[in-house]
């Protein structure tokens, strides 16, 4: 295993699935759904998920074989930045407005991914303008305006 990678073992995946299904059965369904018929299917699915998780864990422990998923730290940094920028964009769009936020989003994301200023500025102006005009003028649909637009 390279030092530049971090590893997620298969056992963690099934462990997470098992914990999630236990939470569903004992916490989320009892608090989130009124008792009676509406609980039937969420319970059936959660129990099925629990069974798959537990059987898979037992199988891993018996076989002593677990697949590993590698995440390169340097590469994950770029993906992480992209996710963070997209997260901020998704959340703030309704408060700031689609047009302005899309310009900022394209500019910041392209720069963080290593693109030059020229293409970043060009795309950040052209794309939101085209989408904005298409949706508002042609399709008569409106985007979240926010404090700007």
């Amino acid at each position: 295993m390279e030092k530049s990678n971090f590893v997620v073992k298969e056992v963690y995946v099934y462990g997470f699935i098992t914990i999630l299904s236990v939470l569903m059965i004992f916490l989320i369904i009892p608090t989130g759904i009124q008792s009676g018929q509406p609980r039937l299917f969420p319970y059936i699915y959660s129990v099925a998920l629990l069974l798959v998780g537990v059987i898979s864990l037992i199988r891993i422990f018996v076989k002593k074989q677990s697949e590993q998923y590698q995440f390169n730290k340097k590469v994950s940094k770029f993906v992480g930045y992209s996710i963070l920028i997209y997260f901020v964009y998704s959340l703030s769009i309704q408060y700031i407005g689609f047009f302005v936020m899309s310009i900022l989003f394209i500019l910041v994301l392209m720069r963080s991914l290593g693109e030059g200023w020229k293409i970043a500025i060009l795309l950040s102006v052209i794309l939101p303008s085209c989408i904005y005009l298409l949706f508002t003028k042609v399709l008569a649909l409106y985007f979240p305006a926010g404090v700007l637009f």
Partner: protein, 514 residues
Amino acid sequence: MFSQIFDGFVTMFTPLTILLTTAGVIAGTLLGAIPGLTATMGIALILPVTFYLDPIAGIVMLTAMYKGGLFGGSVSAIMFNAPGTPAAAATAMDGYSLKRKGYPRKAIRTALVASTIGDMMANLVLIFSAAAIASLALKFGPAEYTSLVLFALILIITVSGGSMAKGIISVIIGLMIATIGADPETAIPRLNFGFLELSGGISIIALVIGLLAVSEVFTTIEQYFTSRHNKSNSTDLEDDSSGSDVPKGNDNITLKEISGMKRTLFRSSAIGTAIGALPGLGPVTASFVSYTQARKKAKNPENFGKGEQEGIAAAEGANSAVASANLIPLLSLGIPGDAEAALIFGALIMHGIIPGPQILEHNGSIVYGIMAGMLMASIICFILNWYGSTIYRKISFIRPTVLAPIILVLCVAGTYGYSQAAFDIVLVFVFGIMGYLLNKVKIPLVGIIIGFVLGPKLEESVRQVLSLSGGNITMLFTKPISLLFLAISFFLIINAIRKSLKSDNKNDLDLPVS
């Protein structure tokens, strides 16, 4: 039926439909030709737009995009040995070798001819068989539907490849997401976590755009930086020139060559149609099964993998036939066979057309219009790609760092344009991250989408069975059609377990213990 087919062809043939079909083919081919991007993502992106279009024009555009995308995937497979779609992996085996011998255009046009023949044949089967299957499906009651949905889910789990446990997890996640919103019988809120916006359930648009498009953007960014990190980025492919200089005139497919491959073309189309008609098997399975069969039957099997035209034809004919054939279970039974069919299912629902046995009765001319449009899409795909076969390689060099922001902004615009709900933009983000992480740990995303689509039907049918039989589930075993589906499902499970145990035993001998 024939009058409905005629009506469908007449209704479909409008300038708008022709224009949108052409646009769909071009967009699908471009997306399919970019390794890492797929037409599925394109369909997810334009799905909301179809809401504002006539149902025939909108849905034909989606299927045109799918057909274009399948062919586009073969272009990058042939040119760079980088299949633009997983279905094109079998095409790459001989396509890339033929290209390296100096026959790129011959390879692309062989793929195109096979693709068009496979697609047309499956289209015709779809047109003439959908009504027969639908009339059989009219005999279905809640017990038959329950068994059918269970069969479809089990089929998807057992054939999705990789770990069976992960296939089950994927389908259950989809089924669980489908329970969010309100109880179908009592309308009592379920699992809305205090968000009023979740009371109506999760929007299929937010789910598919997030899971398929957004997650794919992050995966593509990761692949791009990984290849840069490994100093083997895609620009290396640009330098990968043909092995020899072949005169342009020789780099073409001839009628004699097509005639020589007629058995392979017919067999691959038949395999693709049969596999496409079963939910969950998809174009990847079809292309590899067909390729293996073609090699078995070939006079010179040793040429396969070294640029054999029949190898390209076998893979392409089968994977393209799936594109049409997977609409057979969707339209006649309401069971989507793969992610693309699930997206088309979503588009039909958006227009108030409910896929299932009564679809032809209630919306016959629209459905036959869509089928007619699919035939037209095949023809347009052939004409455009025949002449455009020399210019596709350029688009494969668009950097993911330029494409990523474009696609993410389009995802937001498409989602908001459809639902006009800012909450759905956040949902797209959540499903995007979920899809990216699940992809990393090899949990198939298609199972989630199909589980989500079939979940309400399963719940409704099971609860109807329970009401009708006073809580006695044995009704499922007393109806012959229901029993048949359950028996096949049981056989599939046993077969999958047997295969899994066999592979475990093999791994015990082969793999190092971690």
